[in-house]
């Protein structure tokens, strides 16, 4: 266990005029740690995720990331070229709708291989082999390597998106409702896959979800957001089993038991 965090977030706020997107968010994330950001619609969780992943510029605060050379860099003091490079190599972003994170008109193999080609890999055979390997890791039959994601089911598309993101061995993955919109049985499979991959690869991840079961299964720590503020945070099982704040208690008690 290393002592240096991977991500340092200080006072991140996003305002839209006088409307609060998110306010004063502070936390640190260590390698191999999964943080769930939980809240209902309008809580600010997606806004926060976008501020952290450089998709949205915060109004205030800083997001510092520890680069592979060990130095911390403020993400918003980097050039766009550096940010984009980071996004393609050291980070992943799994969208809720897999079509947003895939090239739908290009084969599954090319989708997975694209990041490799973007960083300079020039051997077709090896690229194809790596792509094939990743497809089987996300439980997509390798004979579908030349098929387009348009022909895939929702769950398969999502798994393909995950493979596409993980092929360059990122250290930090952002996930926006990774199981949203999927059938329950498909969700279970995907969550198990994610859990396994996160463990095997020692990934740090920030997962935005409104589904507490997803948070329980995937995350070590949890942050509960309401109206743009972080109202409770701590060890996931502690927040779910012994919620302190009124809103957290409401959220936890609202889950229907099957």
């Amino acid at each position: 266990m290393t002592d240096t965090p991977l991500l340092k977030v200080s006072g991140v706020s996003k305002f839209y005029g006088s409307r609060i997107g998110c306010k004063d968010v502070n936390f640190e994330l260590w390698p191999g740690e999964v943080l769930a950001i939980v809240g209902e619609s309008g809580s600010g969780k997606t806004t926060l995720l976008n501020c952290l992943s450089t998709r949205l510029m915060p109004t205030a605060g800083s997001v510092e990331y520890r680069m592979r050379d060990g130095n911390f860099r403020d993400l918003y003091h980097m050039s766009e070229a550096e940010r984009r490079f980071l996004m393609r190599t050291d980070w992943g972003f799994v969208h809720q709708n897999p079509a947003d994170g895939l090239r739908m008109t290009v084969s599954a193999g090319a989708n997975v291989g694209e990041r490799l080609m973007a960083i300079g890999d020039r051997h077709y055979g090896k690229i194809r082999e790596t792509a094939s390997d990743w497809l089987s890791r996300v439980e997509i039959s390798t004979d579908r390597i030349d098929d387009q994601p348009r022909a895939f089911s929702g769950g398969m598309r999502q798994r393909l998106q995950i493979a596409r993101n993980l092929v360059t061995g990122p250290r930090l993955v952002f996930m926006d409702e990774p199981t949203g919109g999927l059938d329950v049985s498909v969700q279970a499979r995907l969550l198990d896959l994610l859990r396994g991959l996160v463990n095997d690869l020692g990934l740090a991840a920030i997962v935005v979800t409104h589904d507490l079961a997803v948070a329980r299964l995937l995350s070590h720590r949890m942050m509960v957001m309401k109206d743009g503020h972080v109202i409770e945070h701590g060890l996931t099982d502690r927040v779910l089993d012994d919620p302190r704040e009124p809103y957290t208690q409401l959220l936890v008690s609202s889950i229907l038991q099957v």
């Binding site: 393609r88 080609m117 973007a118 020039r122």
Partner: protein, 293 residues
């Protein structure tokens, strides 16, 4: 009686020529980079070579000798029209001989004969952006060029190999210029790509509809994109030219009758004529020569 108004030299007004020359200088300074320019209304519609014509018009001078080819031929309608256009508005000498020309405007082919330091090749370009069909957003392709993010280009080649067993792009084959920008060489056959590399001549590219000019200065590296295990290869023809017997040149297929008869002849008409003048004959002409003797 006053003279009727005549055209300004080479049709374009001086300010326009200045603007285009500036774009050309910038293009030469950044090989392969697409420089936007204010493309003018020309007396031919978009898609008929307005880009090439504007570039030629901006660089041509009274001492120049102009050659115009279309798919390698000097005698197609378009080549003839453009040549006549410049004769009228610039009163310059024109030729069909590659070696005599100082400016060669071309649609979709590079002459077989090696070009020299005193020559400029002006290409007509329909779609200048090599990434256009993969990424339709101009905002995104500009960023990709700026940040040298060309992974997508290789994705296209990967797809070709995955679906066709080999890279199937046979014309407008993307190249990397001076190890920096990826460029579309215009719809020339990939057979011509090696001619662009370290050429003695200056190569200028004009796209009128898309309003872009780009350039490859002489002695610049131009490398066709490929994979280590699927390297770039030019087309090979089994036959020689039926008229002049030339080997290792780009051939056009000509249908002779409705019984499937055809012959293959040089696409570069000047090259073919030149060889025949020097006594080379191909199969097609050999029997008639014998008969004549």
């Amino acid at each position: 009686m006053t003279d009727l108004a005549t055209y300004n030299f080479a049709y374009l007004d001086e300010q326009t020529k200045r603007m285009i020359r500036r774009a050309i200088l910038k293009a030469i300074a950044i090989p392969g980079y697409q420089v936007p320019f204010a493309s003018r209304e020309m007396p031919m519609p978009y898609g008929w070579g307005t880009g090439g014509v504007q570039v030629t018009a901006s660089i041509i001078g009274p001492e120049d000798v102009l050659k115009v080819i279309d798919q390698g031929a000097d005698d197609t309608t378009n080549a003839v029209s453009i040549r006549a256009f410049f004769q009228k508005v610039a009163n310059v000498a024109v030729t069909t001989h590659t070696s005599d020309a100082t400016i060669i405007q071309t649609r979709h082919r590079i002459p077989e004969q090696k070009l020299g330091e005193n020559q400029v090749l002006v290409y007509q370009v329909p779609i200048p952006e090599p990434l256009r069909f993969l990424e339709p957003r101009e905002t995104e392709t500009r960023k990709m060029h700026a940040l040298e993010e060309y992974g997508l280009m290789h994705v296209k080649l990967y797809e070709d190999i995955a679906h066709n067993g080999r890279i199937s792009k046979t014309y407008a084959y993307p190249v990397k210029v001076d190890s920096r920008y990826v460029m579309d060489p215009s719809p020339t056959p990939k057979f011509d790509n090696p001619k662009m590399h370290m050429s003695d001549a200056l190569q200028l590219f004009g796209a009128g509809r898309e309003k872009r000019i780009y350039a490859v200065p002489p002695y610049t590296e131009v490398v066709s994109l490929d994979f280590e295990d699927y390297p770039f290869e030019v087309q090979k023809f089994d036959q020689n030219c039926a008229l002049c017997g030339a080997h290792g040149v780009y051939l056009d297929e000509v249908v002779l009758d409705d019984k499937g008869g055809r012959m293959f002849v040089c696409s570069d008409t000047d090259h073919c004529e030149d060889r025949r003048e020097h006594g080379h004959v191909g199969e097609m002409l050999a029997p008639s020569k014998e008969a004549a003797e």
